[in-house]
């Protein structure tokens, strides 16, 4: 697309007649290229910076620090295989297992509604989330739930292990494990 204009010189001297070519080059494609590269670099640069999320573990050694949790304040999530999510409210003995999933519409709604119920009953935000990942749940599942806790500003949550009876119960109701 370089524009070259032929200018025949109107020189009267016929011996030195040569056609002068313009040295102007159309720079539009070069500008295009420059901006494409800029956008590429901006996008890749923005995607590479990793973020860090805090995770605090409970100190099991300090046994004297007991923290009573009211029964109606507890909400337990059980992260099972194949991205299945189970939950129950209150104590384990009379737990009613329900299924949910990791999408924002279901898990976030669960937490928000639970908080409302706790607020209505007790008058303050005493909700406690217990996260129990199973052996075949993956890291993403766990981080998703912990992230939901920070999205919904859950003050108290902890990661725990499943009990025997819970394991049995989940084995009955969950889908068989598909090896990944």
């Amino acid at each position: 697309m370089a524009e070259i204009t032929n200018q025949t010189s109107q020189n009267k001297n016929k011996r030195t007649q040569c056609n002068k070519k313009s040295t102007r080059v159309d720079l539009t494609p070069m500008v295009d290229l420059g901006f494409i590269l800029i956008t590429f670099f901006i996008f890749t640069a923005a995607l590479t910076d990793a973020k860090a999320m805090n995770l605090v573990l409970p100190n099991d050694k300090e046994i004297d620090v007991t923290d009573a949790v009211c029964e109606s304040c507890a909400l337990t999530f059980i992260l099972a295989s194949n991205n299945q999510l189970f939950y129950y409210e209150g104590k384990e003995e009379n737990a009613l297992y329900k299924t949910s999933d990791y999408s924002s519409t279901s898990i976030r709604k669960l937490i928000v509604e639970k908080r409302k119920r706790v607020m209505n009953k007790i008058g303050k935000d005493n909700m406690v989330l217990i996260i129990k990942p199973m052996g075949h749940s993956n890291f993403k599942n766990l981080i998703d739930v912990v992230d939901e806790c920070s999205i919904s500003v859950v003050k108290r949550y902890y990661i725990d292990e499943l009990t025997e009876s819970e394991n049995k119960k989940i084995a009955e109701i969950s889908l068989p494990i598909i090896s990944q």
Binding site: M30, D49, A50, V56, P58, N59, R108, D147
Partner: protein, 217 residues
């Protein structure tokens, strides 16, 4: 009334200036962005809404998809001290020359008893063949020993700073038991706070955090 004659002007604009600006910006962005360190261990971390940037100097535990664990000692000032410490406490019998060679490794991904052997090899084992630090069961969890050495070396220093440096980076598909054993290793060394490397994500509109963001100190 005579017609007003408008002189015809060429629509061609001189692009030189614009070209200059484009490349000036380009060179600025290239120089301003940090070079991404080459990733030998391919890991796709999960997303989170956390906005805190992960520190460059860190003690990073990487969990791969297939359940192997690696340790990267990013703090060059303390790296050799940590390696020397584990050499002493676990009786690896490494010579100073071997320690110096080990110090050049980017990350650690071998059981302790295989380290001396690997340092005598002429060609290093490729990362895909490394077995990782054994953490599969709690009896032979070598991450405990590693973190013990780390705490030993940082013992006199700023503990809050150490907490900021402890990072765990896991693949989306890594299974939970691997993370559980890493968690146990932290706990056994009285380290109760660490951070997880994630990809940033925007806070969802309408959520509690979105409506009432925490007041910045």
């Amino acid at each position: 009334m005579p017609k007003v004659k408008l002189p015809r002007k060429s629509t061609i604009v001189d692009m030189t200036a614009m070209c200059d600006v484009a490349f000036l910006l380009l060179s600025f962005f290239i120089l301003a962005t940090k070079q991404k360190p080459q990733e030998v261990l391919s890991v796709t971390p999960p997303n989170s809404i956390s906005a805190k940037a992960a520190p460059d100097k860190s003690i990073l535990i990487t969990m791969t998809k297939d359940g192997r664990a690696f340790l990267t000692l990013g703090d060059d000032t303390k790296k050799s001290a940590i390696l020397e410490n584990i050499n002493l406490t676990k009786g690896l019998n490494l010579t100073p020359a071997e320690l110096a060679k080990w110090n050049k490794d980017e990350f650690i991904g071998l059981p302790l008893n295989q380290i001396k052997g690997s340092l005598t090899l002429k060609t290093p084992i490729p990362p895909s063949k490394l077995p990782g630090i054994p953490i599969q069961d709690s009896a032979t969890n070598e991450m405990v020993d590693w973190l013990a050495s780390v705490t030993n070396v940082y013992a006199g220093g700023d503990q809050a700073k150490l907490q900021e440096m402890l990072l765990v980076k896991g693949d989306n598909q890594a299974l939970y038991p691997v993370f559980k054993n890493i968690k146990l290793a932290f706990k056994k060394n009285q380290l109760f706070k660490f951070r997880i490397v994630t990809n940033g994500e925007a806070v969802p509109v309408g959520s509690e955090l979105y409506l009432n963001p925490p007041v910045k100190k």
